[in-house]
Amino acid sequence: MASPSSTLRQRGGQKEKKQMDGKADHADAYLDNVIGSTKKVVTPEWDYKIALLIITILSFITRFWGISHPNEVVFDEVHFGKFASYYLQRTYFFDVHPPFGKLLFALMGWFVGYDGHFLFDNIGDSYIANKVPYVAFRAMPALMGALTVPTVFLIMWESGYSLPAAVTAAGLVLFDNAHIGQTRLILLDATLVFFMALSVLSYVRFYKFRHEPFGRKWWKWLLLTGVSMSCVISTKYVGAFTFFTIGCAVLIDLWDLLDVNRKGGALSMPTFGKHFAARAVGFIVVPYFFYLFWFQVHFSILYRSGPGDDFMTPEFQETLSDNAMAASAIDIQYYDTITLRHKETKVYLHSHADKYPLRYDDGRISSQGQQVTGYPFADTNNHWQILPPQPFGEDNQLGHAVKNGDLVQLRHLVTNTMLLTHDVASPFYPTNQEFTTVSLDLAAGERHNDTLFEIRLEQGKAGQQFKSVSGHFKLVHHPTKVAMWTHTTPLPDWGYKQAEINGNKNVQQSSNVWFVEEIPSIPADSPRRVKETRKPKHMPFLKKYFELQRAMFFHNNALTSSHPYASQPFQWPFLLRGVSFWTQNETRQQIYFLGNPVGYWIASSLLAVFAGIVGADQLSKRRGIDALDERTRSRLYNSTGFFFLCWAAHYLPFYLMGRQLFLHHYLPAHLASTLVTGALVEFVFNAEPIIEDETVLTKKDDLRKKVPAKARKAFQKASERLKGQSMLATWAASGVILAVTIWGWWFFLPLTYGKPGLTIEQVNARKWLGYDLHFAK
């Protein structure tokens, strides 16, 4: 587009910048001086440190207390415990979540020397009887959960909030029954929430070093942010929301760096490029490689064939050792006798001498040809001979391999007839073609074309060898282009309740896939059966990764089945519904996964207050009324606004998701909402109605008067910012909030820790919003 001509004037101007640089140099030296002196003056914030210590101790107590109860499999421990066992047994499995969180459990099991013999099959299975070191497993998420609370405290501290604000935020997480409940069990969310909090903390630290770009600490926190975010997304894909949150902040930051009238002086384009590149590497490239790394670990641990094989392509399965498929695959040659099996319903292609009835119940008419059906059991009627369209010479029949894309005929051995399909409606589907067989004479003569089928291997290359077991294929009729298909509705009595075989016009459908299970015509001692001990094949990592990634996304979207305790996103901030995790009838004990309603309602209502404050500020500003001073507004928008964005980004996308959702999906968003709560408690009880302009500010603080503009931009601790203000109101508010939160936590505690058992009255007293608790009668 139009290139800048000489007439263009640049805003800000170069000259000015130079001057500012000079000023800045001068100021820097001065600033160092000032900072040096403040360091001596400012207290080392002992109050924060003591609070942090107390909170950490409490959080370890709340997370670890009674962790061995119940000694039975609870809720989704079924899945994640099982996955850990698979890792320890090194058998391949498939799951929709990335491997990091699950690998941590495996690591824990490996530390305590567990061999992974127990597969966590049912909720309520005893750990004691099965000798599972479940406390070690549970200690891992509990540790993460316990560390989450001090992380929240540190976020508030590092962001420069006052002590009561930080205590409020941390307290809301500390005494939240949902956080406690979810982190004491073998589940992924503790890891997820902890690293999500760590990402926010690292980013806040990184941002605080913005005045020392490319310094050692700047790099350190940049990379730590990236790695933490990578851990979030390597645990569950909701980590993408964390990327979005931090990404928004980074983009705004970059936009400000680009500004030619930037306070610290305009950056040159190469410098800006460096900033951009550093963030691209730290926030995108490094996390992605780290994410890939876990997949590499995943693949190298799981080298044995296991329950996940079926989700993968045959090429992938051949990379796994003891894979049944790879072991028994034999090249198929013409004139071999084969049995064909349907991949989904596992029926064999079958035929017998009976004919289709002339007329079906609905009045349609058949060809009265020989029946071709699907039969689930082994039988000689399942044997078919695979023939070339034009017979080879008598002496030249053996040794011709069948290849992908070949046209073949299939002869039914017992009745000596040839498989065929034609434009006659099938018994159940008027739109699908009937399969039948015809005599060899007809098959060689006028019906020859109708007996021709094409072997289409799934993901096959042209001319690829057609193998038994591993060669998944579609049998496509050559003249009419329908694929052989079957389904689960059995035929009526005339078909002996066997499965219907018909020609499906929709060739693409994945249920058209068949495989050759056996080649009975090959004698047991034939050299074709002899296999040299096969080494698992190699497949490039990236190819494996992309295949798995695709399968994960596909199956994640397919998770739409309903669950009795699934909930809707709108229910979460109000805590309208929990999830029943575990019950025990004898002791009337139950674990009902539920947040602390008091804490949830406080946090959610303060989110609304924040939206209200911002809305009111925007409206009044638009009308020329400035109710907030610049610093307060900047804090409200940049810091609290960031927390609010974090909440929205971790919450709102769930409205667009079609899959089943549970309350625990709200945990990251809840953590963000406690940050907003803490910040707002301070804002509401300390916001000064007086409009502070620069002069007032400088009068207030002697030190600041001497500090030039840039120094004033430097980070300000809460104690400096709120100097001279009474914190009494804030402390009081925070105390009240904490008191009611602790009461709510205490009240719902038996449902979270699973003990003690409750009487009917006690259960009913806790059915606040019609929570569907057990043992209410």
Binding site: M1, A2, P4, L8, R9, Q10, R11, G12, G13, W255, L258, D259, V260, N261, A266, M269, N506, Q508, Q509, L619, R622, R623, G624, L656, G658
Partner: protein, 743 residues
């Protein structure tokens, strides 16, 4: 910096100067918007009088030529195919219902289909044809004129596009390009040639865009008569587009966004008197909310007015509505108020609710008592007697005096065919285990107080007196007197043992708003009472309107694709902007005239690319601005703002919902979005060629004109109909996914 920002967005400073020039031009040309560069005019005037004349009257001549061409492309050989093509099967049938005046139900609002009906009326069609897909039209049905009526809407789009492009401040070559892109868009031309709603939808989308653009241009003349005229015209267009299909709401959203931005700017203008600000808001509320609502409701009013006979859609409506249809049994000679001893049928008031039913078959599990269900078919098993409770065992329906059933009465309901009482107990219901089972038990003498039900009147459609139960109009709930649960029939079907009828249960939660627990008396027989008068059964329009709209929404959401059955015709959102897929509109054998719904490649690809180009362009200027280059004048910024950003936003609004939507989607869902993409393409061409010399610019444009026209001509047969073997058009199959020929 924030201060400068504000100044830019209010658009107040140097834009004024430039604007004034435009206004003088406008006056010189008889009030029409007219803007060309002054230097061009001078040069042209020197050349010759003819050219000057053409130049001066371009705004009349060009649209006339384009419109003539439009009528040609939309109507030539329009009657060639004498068979019911594609969705003509639906919309033709709906049109027939208007001619037969039979009530039907469909997911789309009525305006478009009423227009189809009108076209049939003009063609002298009596509504007797069934419009079966692929069937040949009968001799007496003049389908050609019905199609011409539809094609008219399609043809009108071309002049609309022309004037819209002018209102968006595009230069003359761009205006022509945009018009040509709409004119020579094969998919627009094809879809306009059949009895479908899409040509109307497109037409009203185009009028809305034009009115919005014109209204924006009049921003400086607020409250002038012309300003009001275009404001109300915008409202009218919005009303029409929403009354054709609900996708019109996306168009409404575009105008809505514009209005919000406009008002936000005015809100920030502290110099504007508060009264003026308030009148701005009021004008827009009236023009852009009230007027469209009235249009939308008026279309439904006409719908109800025309469809006065009972028809296939009755069951979707309330009993009260049905009673007002001619030829219906509902409400015939029924006494108005229900008394003890009355025989009646009870209808569930939920959407698609049936009649309370019982039959001699018993539940195979639970209590093993007689089944109670909800059933749509009308038979004698739906009849129930209202009986007093067991405290009045001496009640004899023959002899007792007439006593009306009142609100909060405790009653029994006795099944007329089997003589058993409607009963409930703490046995779990067969499917919805959380609820109590409802059965039929005992007889008039045998039984217990679990046969007792309390009537709770919820509301009454025509009367504010809730003390009595009136046939059809009173909605009431039946509370089980002992257990406190409510009689409910949801949408759950029983297994085969219950003949797939709707499960009827007693639900423990008291939710007064749950319409599935609301019942009304549909048929009512009582010899002792006089038959009610028809005027008592007037159904209020608003209630029917809301009921029908909710029913439409519910069934629209139910149009989800069946994952097991892949539809050959359906396509996915990502395929549309890249023209990955076309659509066969009819059978593909050699004897049918075949139509293939596929766009003009250069229009599709060019318009899609221009969306990306605009994004890059804006990013470029933003970064340049942040780096301190002020290379755009206020005029340029306004141009980008209203002629690039708004069309792109319009495209997103019309496109993104289909990405999120779970329902089956087809290529024609993209057509409204395509128009906004075409406008974006116009902007990109206009912007990139502004620095070029006149000669170069015109040659670029002439090349583009030639490409657009050339491709249209190349693909003309898929628009005008392909006769004979499809193999003749093998050369048009550029990609495997364009299924113009097999294989």
């Amino acid at each position: 910096m924030a201060a400068t920002h504000d100044a830019f967005t209010t658009g107040k400073d140097d834009g004024d100067l430039r604007r004034r020039n435009i206004q003088t031009h406008e006056k010189a040309n008889g009030g029409m918007v007219y803007k060309i560069e002054a230097e061009d005019t001078k040069k042209l005037q020197k050349k010759s009088n003819l050219v000057a004349f053409l130049d001066e009257w371009e705004f009349v001549i060009a649209p006339l030529i384009f419109t003539a061409l439009a009528f040609f492309t939309r109507m030539w050989r329009i009657g060639l195919s004498p068979i019911v093509t594609w969705d003509e099967a639906h919309f033709g049938k709906f049109g027939s219902h208007y001619l037969k005046r039979e009530f039907y139900f469909d997911v789309h609002p009525p305006l478009g289909k009423m227009l189809v009906g009108l076209s049939g009326y003009i063609a002298g069609y009596n509504g007797s044809f069934e419009f079966k897909s692929g069937e040949r039209y009968p001799e007496e049905l003049n389908y050609t004129s019905m199609r011409v009526f539809n094609a008219f809407f399609g043809a009108v789009c071309i002049p609309l596009a022309y004037f819209t492009a002018r209102e968006l401040n595009f230069k003359r070559p761009t205006v022509w390009l945009v018009t040509l892109m709409v004119l020579c868009e094969n998919s627009y031309a094809t879809i306009s040639r059949f009895i479908l709603l899409d040509s109307m939808l497109l037409c009203f989308t185009f009028t809305t865009t034009l009115c919005w653009a014109r209204f924006h241009r009049l921003q400086k003349e607020s409250f002038s008569p012309e300003w009001f005229f275009w404001l109300f015209l915008t409202g009218l267009s919005i009303g029409c587009v929403c009354s054709v299909k609900w996708v019109g709401l996306f168009c409404t959203a575009l105008v809505g966004l514009y209005t919000v931005e406009d008002l936000w700017n005015k809100f920030g203008d502290l110099k504007m008197p508060k009264v003026e600000l308030a009148s701005h808001v009021a004008a827009r509320v009236v023009g852009l909310i009230v007027v469209p609502m009235l249009v939308y409701m008026f279309s439904f009013y006409l719908h109800f007015l025309i469809l006065e006979n009972s028809g296939p859609g009755d069951a979707q409506m309330s009993s009260l509505f049905q009673a007002n249809l001619r030829g219906t049994e509902v409400g015939k000679n029924s006494p108005l108020e229900v008394a003890y001893g009355s025989k009646a049928t009870l209808k569930n008031m939920g959407y698609g609710g049936g009649l309370l039913h019982s039959h001699v078959q018993t539940y195979p599990e639970g209590s093993n008592q007689q089944q109670v269900t909800c059933y749509h078919h009308k038979d004698a098993n739906n009849d129930w007697f209202f009986y007093p409770n067991r405290d009045h065992m001496d009640f004899n329906p023959e002899t007792a005096d007439v006593k009306l059933v009142a609100n909060n009465d405790v009653i029994r309901l006795i099944h007329a065919q089997t003589g058993r009482n409607l009963h409930s107990h703490t046995v779990p219901a067969p499917v919805t285990k959380a609820d109590n089972e409802v059965s039929c038990y005992g007889n008039t003498t045998i039984g217990d107080d679990k046969d007792h039900w309390t009537i709770e009147v919820v509301n009454d459609a025509v009367s504010s007196d809730y003390s009595k139960i009136r046939t059809l109009t009173t909605a009431f709930r039946l509370r089980h007197t002992v257990l406190g649960c409510y009689l409910r029939a949801g949408n759950v079907n029983l297994p085969q043992w219950g003949f797939k009828q709707i499960e009827t249960t007693c639900v423990k939660e008291n939710k007064p708003k749950d319409v599935y627990t609301h019942w009304n008396v549909e048929a009512h027989w009582n010899d002792k009472l006089p038959p009610g008068e028809a005027k008592n059964y007037k159904s209020p329009f608003l209630r029917d309107f809301i009921h029908l709209n909710v029913a439409m929404m519910t069934s629209n959401n139910a149009l989800v694709p069946d994952p097991d059955k892949q539809d050959d015709l359906a396509s996915q959102y990502w395929q549309w902007p890249i023209l990955n897929v076309g659509l066969r509109m009819c059978s593909w054998d050699d004897n049918t005239v075949k139509y293939f719904l596929l766009g003009n490649p250069i229009v599709y690809w060019g318009s899609t690319a221009s969306l990306g180009a605009i994004a890059l362009l804006i990013l470029w200027y933003l970064i340049r601005w942040q780096r301190g280059y002020e290379e755009l004048s206020q005029h340029d910024i306004d141009f980008i703002h209203y002629s690039a950003i708004y069309p792109v936003v319009g495209w997103f609004l019309h496109y993104l919902p289909f990405v999120a939507m779970a329902r089956v989607t087809y290529v024609h869902h993209y057509y409204p979005a395509l128009y906004f993409a075409i406008l974006s393409a116009g902007f990109v061409m206009d912007w990139t060629t502004q620095k070029l010399g006149r000669r170069v610019r015109w040659s670029v444009y002439i090349l583009l004109y030639a490409a657009v026209i050339g491709l249209f001509v190349l693909f003309k047969d898929i628009v005008f109909g392909m006769q004979g073997s499809h193999q003749q058009w093998r050369y048009l199959k550029w990609f495997d996914s364009w299924r113009i020929v097999d294989q």
